[in-house]
Symmetry: C2
Subunit: 390 residues, 2 copies
Amino acid sequence: MQSITCSAPVNIAVVKYWGKRDETLILPTNSSLSVTLHQQQMCATTTVAASPQFTTDRMWLNGTEENLQTPRLQNVLKEIRRRAEHLQNGVGGSKLHICSKNNFPTAAGLASSAAGYACLVYALAKLYHVEGDISEIARQGSGSACRSVYGGFVEWSLGEAADGSDSLAHQVAPETHWPELHVLVLVVSGKKKHIGSTAGMQTSVLTSALMQHRIKRVVPARMNEMRQAILDKDFQTFSELTIKDSNSMHAVCLDTYPPVTYMTDVSRDITRMVHAINQHYKANKVAYTFDAGPNACLYVCQRDVPMVISLIQHFFPPTDQSETFIQGLSFLNNLLHAESCDVDGAVRYAIPLSPQPGGVQYVIHTAVGPGPQVLPEASSLLGQDGLPTT
Amino acid sequence: MQSITCSAPVNIAVVKYWGKRDETLILPTNSSLSVTLHQQQMCATTTVAASPQFTTDRMWLNGTEENLQTPRLQNVLKEIRRRAEHLQNGVGGSKLHICSKNNFPTAAGLASSAAGYACLVYALAKLYHVEGDISEIARQGSGSACRSVYGGFVEWSLGEAADGSDSLAHQVAPETHWPELHVLVLVVSGKKKHIGSTAGMQTSVLTSALMQHRIKRVVPARMNEMRQAILDKDFQTFSELTIKDSNSMHAVCLDTYPPVTYMTDVSRDITRMVHAINQHYKANKVAYTFDAGPNACLYVCQRDVPMVISLIQHFFPPTDQSETFIQGLSFLNNLLHAESCDVDGAVRYAIPLSPQPGGVQYVIHTAVGPGPQVLPEASSLLGQDGLPTT
């Protein structure tokens, strides 16, 4: 049995992917740009193993065996095997066992499919010794997965070719480029989202009258501005563009028939808190962005993280005194537990909200991170028998 | 003392007014189209009186004396007096006392300023014997007030002239044209809206990247379709366009920086209920539209009103067994109290919501109605002394 174990990151778009021009190849209607989050806090881990003794391809996801016969998984396997055909990798004819898990709740709507597909494709590429860009393959699993193939700041170019060969991801800046940029993921309590992103964006393409303007005029200009803001480490511009593009995507969702809505009253109160903070300080301290769910992702400069966390704790306090309300980068907890963070008391009064206990379930504090990694053999999720270890 | 008392209706736009190209003259960025609601359920009532013995212009609104020195009120008074200048009406030089009230809660965000300004202008025109179109004057008090000057289905044309002389309202069809069209106003519980429509639309004009597309491309086409749907009494098209335009306006609000949001989780659940009903019956039975607040206005054909009301009562039941949960056109109450309305039980199961007691405060059931009316002298809100009677 040959096997390899890898991890891959979550990415959060700051210029959003919303809409496909080709459903099978997963070609988008507009370019997008994302920040790769650090895998220490959030990642998918996948072990892929090939053995002549396996009788069939099998896959386990977060402990449960899953059906591999989905078009997207089959497209990914077919494409990786096609690229590996001419290679002497010794595993060409073997069946695969795949075992994958996330270190964060899958159901939380935290871009788990992007990390999952990027991880699967990266691990398979290593197993089969496939070289070169693999974002095109990851894209066919889940569109935004192509951006999780790289670390730092990543652009997914729209492309022009009908076969998708130029609809690829590439790195705009590495993870070391802007270390001050931190990320707070606010997991918002709430029911399951009422419509998945695949169905939602299909309906938007078919029915939204505003969408064509977004993809043809708004996004192309914003991509250029965003790329430059990142290269300049210009947080003022970066945060304004991030907020605007999130709202633009959700505006298109609302303009869809029937409308698609992901943000809840708590989501909106988080946006109000952010705008009130930025207004109070007369400078952007925080940016928010929302994907196809109610969770907020906040971008904050490291020096302002204690201020923002203390405000989250004030306005969205946990209902139990759980130690795990703030998760992730830990140096902060010391600061916060000591209640020593130098929060300007006045900012609290500038925020037009009443505290909502339980509105936010927990917060993951993380930063910009690298792309997929090969993990030591000891991390394998599959035992010598090719079955999940747990 | 000469006095006159009038009433004027609320109107609810089905193609929305959102954005001014001239703040002082109140000239819009796009044409709009509305339905005038019946005054039996919702109206403003205004008495205007002129007397040489009055020493100053005074105004009372819902029992409280208000400042008349606002630019909008002054513009309206100045314009009406200018038009009356050459007329022999006997009140030219006199000061005015104005007393106005609504028969519905002002704070509920139910287009009270439209009814109020239309009523004021209509009453003043009668007092001063000003003839001809008065929508241009009402418009200068509150943009959408110009549509409350007429009954039935009313279009407010964008116009082209810089002085606003062609930005007028006119009737598309009279109130007798489509008697089957009924209206349910769902007053949604909730805090005060966080930003007024005047400030909200100003910010949209300045910052929304999608708005230009809405006003230049989407609305002009939709106005033509909507006008025709009304003339054809085509509820399928009317309802789809109404829903789409409401969501389009709120999409522009969300695309504003900072974003402007009026709909709450309850508002959105009402939209989900409506789409589920329409999907269940495989035909549009209900349309929703939202103005600058969380309240829903539903358009329903008369025969379907019992079904819709029974579903509202099921999914948004009152927290107390108030007799006044359903207000307005009363024939219905008999039907509903007898629980005899022939609601297909299956539709309930097709609606993906849990009942939310108290989500809707009350429902006003009304229909399409006529324009402003002159009321008998006995309705006067001012006594012989020129002061409010209550």
